[in-house]
Subunit: 376 residues, 2 copies
Amino acid sequence: MGGAGKEVKRGVGLSDAQRVAWLQLIRSENVGPVTFRELINHFGSAEAALDALPALAEKSGRRIRVADRAHAEQELDALREMGGNMIALGEPDYPPWLRQIDDAPPLISFRGAAGALTEPMVAIVGSRNASVAGRKIATMLAAGLGAAGYTIVSGLARGIDAAAHEASLSSGTIAVLAGGLDRLYPEENAPLAARIVESGGAQLTEMPLGHTPRGKDFPRRNRIVSGLALGVVVVEAAQRSGTLITARSAGEQGRLVFAVPGSPLDPRAFGTNRLIRDGATLVTGADEVIEALGPIGGERPAPPEAEEDSDEREPIRDADDSDRARIIEALGPAPVEIDAIVRFTRLPPATVHLVLLELDLAGRLERHGGQRVSLV
Amino acid sequence: MGGAGKEVKRGVGLSDAQRVAWLQLIRSENVGPVTFRELINHFGSAEAALDALPALAEKSGRRIRVADRAHAEQELDALREMGGNMIALGEPDYPPWLRQIDDAPPLISFRGAAGALTEPMVAIVGSRNASVAGRKIATMLAAGLGAAGYTIVSGLARGIDAAAHEASLSSGTIAVLAGGLDRLYPEENAPLAARIVESGGAQLTEMPLGHTPRGKDFPRRNRIVSGLALGVVVVEAAQRSGTLITARSAGEQGRLVFAVPGSPLDPRAFGTNRLIRDGATLVTGADEVIEALGPIGGERPAPPEAEEDSDEREPIRDADDSDRARIIEALGPAPVEIDAIVRFTRLPPATVHLVLLELDLAGRLERHGGQRVSLV
């Protein structure tokens, strides 16, 4: 990762100038977490990537909006004024498990206790229109896991989420938002969100201040809920629901997925029963979750080690139009592995990555899990 | 199996004289299904075993009651007078899956359609004090499996059993009793039992006429419920219950075990949720059971082939007191494999089996699964 990468390894904080550059980069058009990481890999720092950004996108035929420095500074200042802060991937307070996922947010905004972000966490999620029984089970689970030392992560939604936060206020809980920290959703849970912070927990988001959550932001947020946690417990979930997206992303992230069973006659159990059929661990209480998380004498699993980045980066060589054409030829609407594109085109990997970055920034590329990409 | 064994292979019926001899043997004191099989193995026929029986038991120091011929004839006659009959292990109408279990009853008494006994079966079992929801699920499962061509086996108990029988009257259902065919339990289900027979199903038991079921007869009966079936579906079950014994015996018999999940707050789901945690397949409807039973294009699994018995039997040599002492020395209160006893004593296997038979008949031996035995 070069400059930024070395800091990641040491777990040292960014300077505020660097933080603002990171913020500019991630707030720029078509720059998501994976593109951000690719840019840092190629250019060595956020500053260098910002300089290269306009030209890169234009090579694939589009101008993109690069976030300007003044706006980024304003966002950081405003966040701090409301008692929040931002943590960058690799800084000591960055949640250790979240850091391991492919599309970990480069920067998270939070309000509350920074120390809460590095505790071992379990996510409890479920239906918004939960039954009384479901809320009771969420309460039991959150209290039991809290007593065992786990911080409870959830999404501040009605129903299961709210019950899980409520029951873990005293032991520690984190609400992950789909919008900005000043755009709590649903509004009715704003008092709960305030109590989460007052009681030593935190609210957390990757979204900018002022961002009102839209439908597509919720599944995106859900990857952070599961990414923060060692495991995800699903309490009630209908056949098709956002909760199941969280469970699926947890599985893809290699996290343990637990589900609470229910009667086949209860539609709110369709999703959880399905998860169990598909391999999730059936749990009926906190003890079973604790047992699965720490099989050896109750020891908590250690956060995974940071990957050793190679300090040797390939020299970047500009791609020419013929390279670009070959790479585009190798791409289609179906996701294909980047390695396969390298083999097919016989171009240097760095060149392939660079052209993919161009396409990505121009909004012509979609990135999928497993280092796969497709044309939009 | 010698004489009887050859008939088993051909699937030919016994003569009535042979049937009465089989009945005498199985109704004799201390002769259970496994001992019965051992006796036939050693002596070649029920008649020969009956002749040897008194002397064998006396060698281990006890006189046992050998059932007399007249009583056996009376039982068979009485059964036929009430419209029933007996089928011996290996006869064409003997249930093909039941035949494969270690302790398959040598003779079963039944009332109803003999043809029903060879249909592919699924057992549905569960709590006597079932919930309305549980009975509804049992009804759905039985109707769905019946429509797919499976005969439903259950235990005629209140609750889940009764619901499963009721819902499969038209498609075929078999009630396995813990007592004699003239001692239906519970009495309130006698009308249901009658309708089972009227509608082309059957009542079935290994117990003699006039035998009122005692507590220990129910788990013993449960092995037949699971043994008859390709799979067992457990609908509701408390933490400790006879239903779980059926599920365990099904697992030991290599049958598929299915369980219907329920809320952790419902005590009637404790047992089924536990089963799922322990490896049973979670099912919420008949389709899932059907899918698991016949993965290839809906084809039903064929009944397992009868084992090829070797026609060469070891010559039987009488055991002497020193042999007996060595074998008893090798035995203890903990179950040990018969093969281990053969290795330890270095005696011919036939001698070991003979002495074990003596001890068994004298009530001094207990037989366990996996060809293991212990001293009582």
